[in-house]
């Protein structure tokens, strides 16, 4: 089984946000939200000796994700490749997973009423394509690969060059986004954007989300569609599909 990971090379990253917009374009991310974003970690030091760097954040596809058990509808799950994904058909948009993620990687798409986040471009990968963000990155600062593959760049960067996970004493859930570069840059970014405390949402919100979904299901298009198809077939007889 592969173990997918993303390494951010902070030495290369220039903070240009190409990844953010390529991802937005690929996945129709609404304005104000992002599946991956680039943030400046500020400056440290005294004139004229300063340190500054960028922090690229996205879903960490944690080994022990807090969002999966937080999801009341089973929409959020870990797939066979260890990638944390959202089944939007099951999502009730309650926001439990958004609160449960210590990395702020999830958002609710208000127009669609569902949660979204990075899934390492699962559909692209299945089509044999690399993630939209790594493809577009002018600095080649985002590197995607399989940690089980000892010949991969990510393996080299994580196990030989010591790329770091962003964790804290309290939050150690095995994130699979790693950060490489000068130690002071990696440390600075991690300190500027530490994982937060996983939170839970009010039960009422969860239940109202469920209620909505249940109503949708009850009078859902599936049933109606089936019914229509059934009567249609009765009327016209069985037909062979071309494809």
């Amino acid at each position: 089984m592969p173990r997918y990971a993303m390494v951010i090379d902070q030495e290369r990253c220039v903070g240009c946000q190409s990844c953010t917009v390529a991802c937005k374009s690929e996945w129709d991310v609404p304005n104000g939200s992002a599946r991956t974003r680039v943030r400046n970690a500020g400056v440290r030091g005294d004139y004229p000796n300063f340190v500054s760097t960028f922090y690229v954040s996205q879903c960490n596809h944690c080994d022990h994700p807090t969002c999966v058990p937080a999801c009341p509808s089973g929409a959020t799950y870990q797939d066979g490749n260890g990638i944390v994904r959202v089944n939007k058909a099951l999502c009730i948009g309650c926001g439990s997973c958004v609160a449960a993620c210590p990395y702020g990687a999830r958002y609710i798409d208000a127009a669609k009423g569902v949660v979204d986040k990075c899934d390492f471009c699962a559909e692209r990968r299945e089509a044999g394509l690399e993630p939209a963000c790594t493809l577009t990155c002018p600095a080649n600062a985002k590197i995607f690969g399989d940690l089980e593959d000892t010949g991969s760049t990510v393996f080299n960067m994580v196990y030989r060059l010591g790329a770091q996970r962003t964790q804290s004493a309290e939050v150690r859930i095995g994130p699979n986004v790693y950060y490489a570069g000068r130690p002071e840059h990696v440390e600075m970014a991690a300190a500027a954007f530490p994982p937060g405390e996983p939170r839970t949402v009010a039960a009422g919100r969860v239940w109202s989300g469920f209620a909505k979904k249940v109503v949708y299901l009850a009078v859902g298009t599936t049933f109606l569609g089936q019914a229509v198809a059934f009567f249609h077939q009765l009327a016209t007889g069985e037909k062979q599909f071309d494809e």
């Binding site: 090379d9 030495e11 290369r12 220039v14 903070g15 240009c16 946000q17 190409s18 953010t20 917009v21 390529a22 937005k24 374009s25 690929e26 304005n31 104000g32 400056v43 030091g45 005294d46 004139y47 004229p48 300063f50 340190v51 500054s52 760097t53 692209r124 089509a127 044999g128 394509l129 939209a132 493809l135 577009t136 990155c137 002018p138 600095a139 080649n140 600062a141």
Partner: protein, 739 residues
Amino acid sequence: MGNKLTRRQFFRNTTGTAAIVGTAIATASPQVHPPGLRGNTRVQQIATNCEMCFWRCGVMAEVADGKLLKLQGNPHHPLTKGKLCARGNAGVALLNDPDRLKYPQIRTGERGEGKFRRVSWDEALDFLGTKLKELKQKHGPESVALFPHGVHSGFFATLMKAYGTPNAAEPAFAQCRGPRDIGYQLTFGRPVNSPEPVDLEESKCIVLIGSHIGENVFTSQVTAFAEGLSKGAKLIVVDPRFSTAASKANYWLPIKPGTDTALLLAWMNVLITEKLYDEEYLDQYASGFKELETHVGSYTPEWAAGMTDLPAAQIRETAHLMAEAKPSVAIHPGRHVTWYGNDTQRARAMAILTALLGAYGRKGGLFLPTKLAIGRIPLPQMPESEKPRADREANQYPLASEEAHGLTQGLINATLTEKPYPIKGWIVYGQNILESIPTRQQTLAAIKKLDFMAVVDVLPMEQTRYADLVLPEATYLERYDPPAIVTTSKRPFVSIRQPAVEAMHESKPGWWIAKEAAKRLGVSDYFPWADPDDHLRRLISPLGIKMDELKALGAVSFDGKPYIEDRGENDGPLFPTQSGKIELVSSVLQDLKLDALPKYEAVEAPPEGYLRLIYGRSPVHSFSRSENNAWLDDLMAENPVWISSKAAESFRLTDGQKVILQNQDGVKSPAITLKVTPAMRSDVVYTVHGFGAQGPSLKKAYQHGFSDTALMTRIAVDQLMGATGMRVNFVRVLPAERA
């Protein structure tokens, strides 16, 4: 007399990519890049060139049912290799911008009022034809000036030359890279050109003087920069502000603005007095070393320390760092270099320093262009203008460009003063004259004197409100443009722009507008090609590439000869200067009786209580052209003004506070957000250029942030070539509630 001859010889070498003299011609058969992945087969992939900025990266447009789904980098593009920046990815939002100009319009209200009536293309083009004929009859063809921009403006350049005017000018010269190209041309015999042939990926030492790669994003340049650094190149960044590039540097030199030439001369002094230059290279290729040695003798690091605010020891150390890496030292010539009015001489100093390190034509330095034998479309003889260009007086600015590049502010002055003769008509294409040219008040005053102004644009920029005729152009995703013929790449290449989708609304491509206008003006002979395919075919026919191949892949590249060792006898002179050598002492400047070696000239310091206004770029915007883009606005909607902690403290200002800037002439900015940082000099304020749109028709961008250009009421003109130095404006930073 002597001067005139020199000038003409000089210009024989300057203009046009295809006219580069003394560069090797690509010989090997073209290499076709293998077809890449196609994804869902039902989606059509159309290869074209981006125009969110001027780098022309290769894009693949994914189109289904005539609708653009998304843009991706084109992996077949030999320079940009599938990379696309934030703006390039956001091209979708330009195409779908609800504020786009949708149909031709003729002004009905006052200039600037924004009242128009919708007209048909026929009426619009007839109106254009009638007006231009009227002006020609009344005042002569010289009375119309063209303000073009970009390679694709060539159709309009042809149109207006055929009409008979010598007057055209784009800000790319006098507000951007003119001084650099002239400075390098004087030294090495050829301009730097674009994309800049800086061998960042192979460099062992990269030197950025005011260049802020990272915030200034041209994809392949960022790729090469990151590659070079990751392979261990040392980095020296000279900038008053701790830029993104500075955060990666071995040395950040927070130089006092305007003193760069002092630093460059001191670096030369160290290299020469300590004999660290590339002696063999200079012996073989350069002339004027002895004079240079004498010239820089007194420019010691100790002397420069007093000018630049940099420690002498640091000036020495950085010189040593370069010397150790020679000849693989990439001193980036910069791009927007119109700073202080002495910019050509600063570019000369950078070129000479490059030569001392043996870095021109060498791996890791600046590489050589490789000429492409591009086809030419024969045109009838252009009418010879009876009058000289209006953008300069007879003996003014001896090295100013003679071609479309010209002097924008010279044309504006001529319009305002009616000297040397009246200019009564303006055609604006691809430029934003109110945001890219300083002294905006003068531009507005000049517009008032016009009988006719036509603007061809994609978006309702503020300037369209002043026009008599507004013609909606199709975006780059909907039109054909002349191909990019790029010689300043290690593999020279041809890449194309072709429509990915049909033009929306009633917008039309520039080539069609120019060709139709030519019919009205009776100059159709100058547009002898039938359609874009015919145009493209004629240009690429000598290169031996197939049309369908080029259209499918978007670009075809050829073997290049980027380094001196690649060049043979048949590849033309290595250094096409007058002497055939690298001219440390410029013979052209000598003939003109001007400083043949660059010297240091102090610039005016800000008065007490004022800070110098400097400006730069954001990676998510291309000046004002992307300001209305919904996706990019989402990432950056306004431009805060940066100030140092020290200056903020002395003015009792705090981070996040609203302030206004008031310049030396009393011009005020709107209220803007203050960003306080310890990491910049305390004698400057910094902002990102291109915000503060004044045209309310840009619903997204209107009054977002402030315009730095509007505060540039003062310019310092380079006497060699007429560029407008724009870092000579000073501002007070006042709390918004008190101002």
